[in-house]
């Protein structure tokens, strides 16, 4: 016999909160919005499952990529080399502007940085495959020193799918429930809201320190990677 599912839809999560609190259907719409807010908070600040990879095509006219619409925070930009992700270096000194959608070299727009593009004893930093800077206002990432036509973007997403079924890991249910109850009572019953705030913070700790910790096997492998195999004599 199979166990119950490891995920719960956001819709069922809202229904479960209403069922548990013995509340009527008239709270459903408001609670659904609060659950979306709570899940986004959790993904952004607490849970590890909030990361998404996406392949983004470089816009040649501006040598940049646009944020996916669900992007909350950019984590990393990388290019593929021999099956591995090679991260680009973040460099905030890149000239971030464009001149009416094109690059004007007189202003340094689109200019490659004068950095050594080779791997040797002189190379500093972890990667010289290119550089990027983030323009959160325009929701673009500006690239330099790379000829890649596509790059990988690692980002935190809102996590809520538009017009589809959003699956939430079941272990996140208590934190989202506490968030919904905390926010729904914040203005009408501050004392009750304060109690839910305590529960919310407890659940945050559990998600942060327990749910996100690597397994013992993963930690063991991490140590093994530090050692060099000795020849058997």
């Amino acid at each position: 016999m199979a166990d119950t599912s490891g995920v719960i839809t956001l819709k069922d999560l809202v229904k479960r909160v209403l069922l548990k609190a013995d509340l009527g259907q008239d709270k459903y719409w408001k609670f659904y919005q609060l659950a979306i807010d709570g899940y986004r908070e959790l993904r952004l600040f607490d849970g590890s499952e909030g990361l998404n990879y996406s392949k983004q095509t470089v816009i040649s006219a501006t040598n940049s990529i646009n944020f996916p619409s669900d992007c909350i925070k950019v984590v990393d930009v990388s290019v593929p080399i021999d099956g591995e992700l090679w991260p680009l270096m973040k460099e905030n000194k890149i000239v971030p502007t464009t001149s009416s959608g094109t690059l004007d070299p007189d202003w340094g727009e689109g200019e490659d940085l004068k950095r050594l593009r080779s791997y040797s004893y002189q190379t500093r930093g972890v990667s010289t495959e290119g550089y990027y800077t983030v323009n959160y206002h325009d929701r673009t990432i500006i690239l330099r020193n790379t000829t890649a036509t596509q790059v990988f973007l690692l980002y935190k997403s809102s996590g809520t799918e538009v017009g589809d079924t959003t699956n939430v890991p079941i272990q996140y249910y208590p934190q989202i429930e506490a968030y919904v109850m905390k926010e729904s009572t914040a203005y009408t019953n501050p004392a009750l809201s304060a109690q839910f705030e305590v529960k919310y913070n407890n659940e945050r700790d559990r998600v942060r320190w327990l749910a996100n910790v690597d397994s013992a096997e993963q930690i063991r492998n991490w140590f093994y990677k530090l050692y060099t195999q000795m020849p058997t004599r």
Partner: protein, 199 residues
């Protein structure tokens, strides 16, 4: 007890001497109507979910499109009791065979506030409605096919909507209270002035 038995009991508890017929059964029914709403409100205001038992089911109601507002509306087949939440006297609204959470009540204010919010774009299956005195107006996700399929409603109806031989589902422990409240209302009516001032 049936509705008629309640009315008769109240009538028989009043003073026998009623030469002016001021306690006509229709007047008693009218006061029962006021009292019934009050009894339901007092008994269930803290937890309206228990009202499901007191709701009457109406099936195969066909919503129609209001050409002015471009929204679908379903007229109530009977008046509803006003209750302190967004669904008022509509305990449940679903498709005729529906079992899940297909329709949810919403206030018009919430509907306007959430227009364009995430919930408006993410929740594309559950339909919302807001309640007016005589109809339910469908807000989100309601389409022509839903209207063609028809809807089912469970309504909490006023005393006057029960037939004489209908069993009146008086909330547990409220039977005596109901009768006493009606009697108190009736006894507070001043007697008819029979003195002949012309003599």
């Amino acid at each position: 007890m049936t509705v008629k038995e309640y009315v008769d009991t109240i009538k028989n508890t009043l003073d026998r001497e009623d030469s002016t017929s001021q306690f006509h059964p229709n007047l008693i029914r009218l006061h029962c109507d006021f009292t019934w709403n009050q009894i339901l409100h007092d008994a269930f205001r803290k937890d309206l979910s228990y009202l499901d038992f007191y709701a009457k089911e109406y099936n195969s109601i066909t919503p129609t499109l209001n050409s002015t507002t471009n929204r679908y509306e379903a007229l109530f087949p009977a008046p509803i009791v006003q209750l302190p939440n967004r669904s008022e006297g509509v305990r449940n609204l679903s498709t005729n065979q529906g079992t899940g959470l297909e329709f949810v009540p919403i206030s018009e204010q919430e509907w306007r506030y959430t227009d364009g919010m995430e919930v408006d774009t993410v929740e594309t299956t559950t339909k919302t409605y807001f309640v007016r005195t005589d109809r339910a107006i469908f807000a989100n996700n309601f389409v022509a096919a839903d209207a063609a399929a028809g809807v089912s409603m469970r309504l909490v109806i006023p005393f006057s909507e029960f037939d004489d031989d209908d069993e009146l589902p008086v909330p547990s422990g409220q039977g005596e209270n109901f009768i006493n409240m009606v009697l108190a209302r009736l006894r507070s009516i001043p007697p008819v002035d029979l003195s002949n001032k012309n003599n």
